[in-house]
Symmetry: none
Subunit: 182 residues, 2 copies
DNA sequence: TCGAAGTGTTGTAAATACTGAACGCTATCG
DNA sequence: CGATAGCGTTCAGTATTTACAACACTTCGA
């Protein structure tokens, strides 16, 4: 996320000049200028001061909710999904026209032997999914599960996890994760 | 909000030492120490680096939600989903044991004639889904779409929307919405 | 009991962010 | 036209933050 760009768009949306905002925030106009141009990375304390002049919380600032454009495309035919496959696993993403999506919604195919890799995955957020066809092994932390068609899961992505298909039929998984990293 | 205290409690909850976090984050341990003692106000870029070693987003950091690390149920068999059906439409929710889920992940069955109602739905957030079986009609705003198996959608829930099955076979939809209202 | 490896803290020097005072520009008004 | 007030940018100097290297302390095992 581009801090400078974000600040500038918020400031303009509020109809404030750099000097006006600076005055309200108790910093100098040059500070605002340099932050917006990304020629500095402001300290937490000064960004707080700047936001207090709007006013806006840090959470609001970093959650890019306001100021989102409207995507045009709503429905995606089966062949219009973006292919973000990684290795043996086929992953297709719904919502390619959506600029800043909140959900990564995927249609995944794990052929026999497919695996997300030896290294366990760890990232922020939450993920969930349901197995539509076949069988699939899910490892979360120290636990190993075998999913059958119709089974589902939900866990925090910060737990180390891994998907594998050690069986002899392809598995089709439909999953959702937030925040969307794609 | 006390940045140092917040960082320290998060770090300890994750079982990381200052040095270990510093290594993952690509900063020095003294940086972590001084941030935690509030003897400096870190720059956005360095706080980002630090959080990436956890990993955690800025939004999560500044939203003062309590960190709950409680291991809950991860896998749900097909018959363990919560039934939140509404009228003719069968809706089953994944992740019933999850305390405060971010995603509402549903397995929905629309029998022939099923409908979300005459009144268009409008609420906060975003929603997405993929049709697994059958055919389904989706109305968003002034547009009407017919989904076939394999087709998907993604739109902002603030647009008025409605799902209908005017066909003679049942439709199976797997959907995700955020924030989760169930 | 000693050494090795771990913890968090701290001093100094280098890197970076911030202030204050310019600058060039545009628009408005007499 | 000239004055004035607004805008965002830039530069030199100052203030703050960061890296590096040490420090004191604790834990663990030989």
């Amino acid at each position: 996320m581009d801090v400078g760009e974000r600040l500038q768009s918020i400031r303009k949306l509020k109809g404030l000049s750099q000097r006006e905002l600076a005055k309200r925030a108790g910093v100098t106009n040059s500070t605002i200028s340099m932050i917006e141009k990304n020629s500095v990375s402001p300290s937490i304390s000064s960004l707080r001061k700047v936001l207090s002049g709007i006013p806006m919380s840090m959470v609001e600032f970093f959650s890019e909710e306001i100021l989102q454009e409207n995507p045009t495309q709503i429905v995606y035919k089966a062949n219009e999904l973006i292919d973000i496959s990684d290795g043996a696993v086929t992953m297709k993403l719904v919502g390619k026209a959506h600029p800043s999506r909140a959900i990564a919604f995927l249609n995944e195919i794990y052929p026999p032997g497919a695996d997300t890799g030896d290294e366990m995955l760890t990232h922020e957020g939450e993920e969930t999914g349901i197995l539509v066809e076949g069988r699939l092994e899910l490892i979360v932390g120290l636990e190993t599960f075998v999913l059958e068609a119709g089974d589902s899961y939900y866990f925090e992505s910060s737990k180390p996890h891994r998907f594998r298909n050690p069986f002899d039929v392809a598995a089709r998984l439909i999953s959702a994760a937030t925040p969307a990293n794609f």
